[in-house]
């Protein structure tokens, strides 16, 4: 069964440092997503990405965040200057077609801890 893989599984970083979270979507998928989930809270949409552009983004996705598909396989989320409140699980997802016409596959997440 194809799967979305995320690395690292856990990252600890100092406040103010930049972090890059990595995701390898399923190979023939075209739409990619990032979410975060603060411990005990709901899954929050950050951004969707299609054709090398941001398709939709939430109010959480401010200038501190950026996404990139640097090499046609990886899909990355960068947080420029981490804050304590960025501590959360970050999930990547991909789907073959947009607008929910196919199922989305999620990775197992990266736990980011900002100290």
């Amino acid at each position: 069964e194809p799967e979305v893989t995320q690395t690292p599984s856990h990252q600890v970083t100092q406040m103010g440092q930049e972090v890059i979270l990595r995701c390898v979507p399923i190979s023939n998928h075209l739409y990619f997503y990032w979410y975060r989930q603060i411990l005990g809270q709901k899954v929050e949409f950050l951004v969707s990405f299609y054709n090398n552009e941001i398709s939709e983004k939430s109010e959480i996705f401010d200038d501190q965040f950026s996404v990139e598909r640097p090499d046609g396989s990886n899909f990355t989320l960068k947080i420029r200057s981490t804050k304590l409140e960025d501590s959360a699980m970050y999930f990547c997802a991909s789907e073959a077609l947009g607008q929910g016409n196919t199922e989305a596959f999620f990775g197992q997440g990266t736990r980011l801890t900002v100290v």
Binding site: K42, E44, E56, G98, Q99, G100
Partner: protein, 109 residues
């Protein structure tokens, strides 16, 4: 953008019983998806129902959709302890895929 609102927030049943979760949404959709999340782990797609469908089955899952009422339900029959998880409905129109608070299902052995 929109997200589904699941009801109830929490549901506790005995193994072997059926579990029903409801979902409401606000605007027209292309389709509606249900997902499951085991505690803190990645979400897993369960079933997709298109806006022109009224009912769909997959194994022990049965989903209904009423577009006139903007509502959906998920029925899990003969529940198992392994079904313990949070369940989310996701109404889809575009690529803004948002999750609500979900229904937290606990199945007691």
């Amino acid at each position: 953008s929109q997200q589904g609102e699941e009801d109830p927030q929490a549901l506790s049943i005995q193994e072997g019983e059926n579990a029903t979760m409801n979902c409401s949404y606000k605007t027209s959709i292309n389709n509606l998806q249900w997902y499951r999340q085991n505690s803190g782990r990645g979400l897993v797609h369960l079933i997709l129902i298109r806006s022109n469908e009224r009912e769909k089955h997959s194994g022990r899952l049965r989903v209904t959709l009423d577009t006139s009422k903007k509502s959906s339900s998920l029925l899990i029959t003969a529940s198992r302890a392994a079904d313990t998880a949070s369940y989310f409905c996701v109404p889809r129109v575009n690529n803004d895929m948002r999750f609500g608070a979900g229904t937290r299902l606990t199945v007691k052995p």
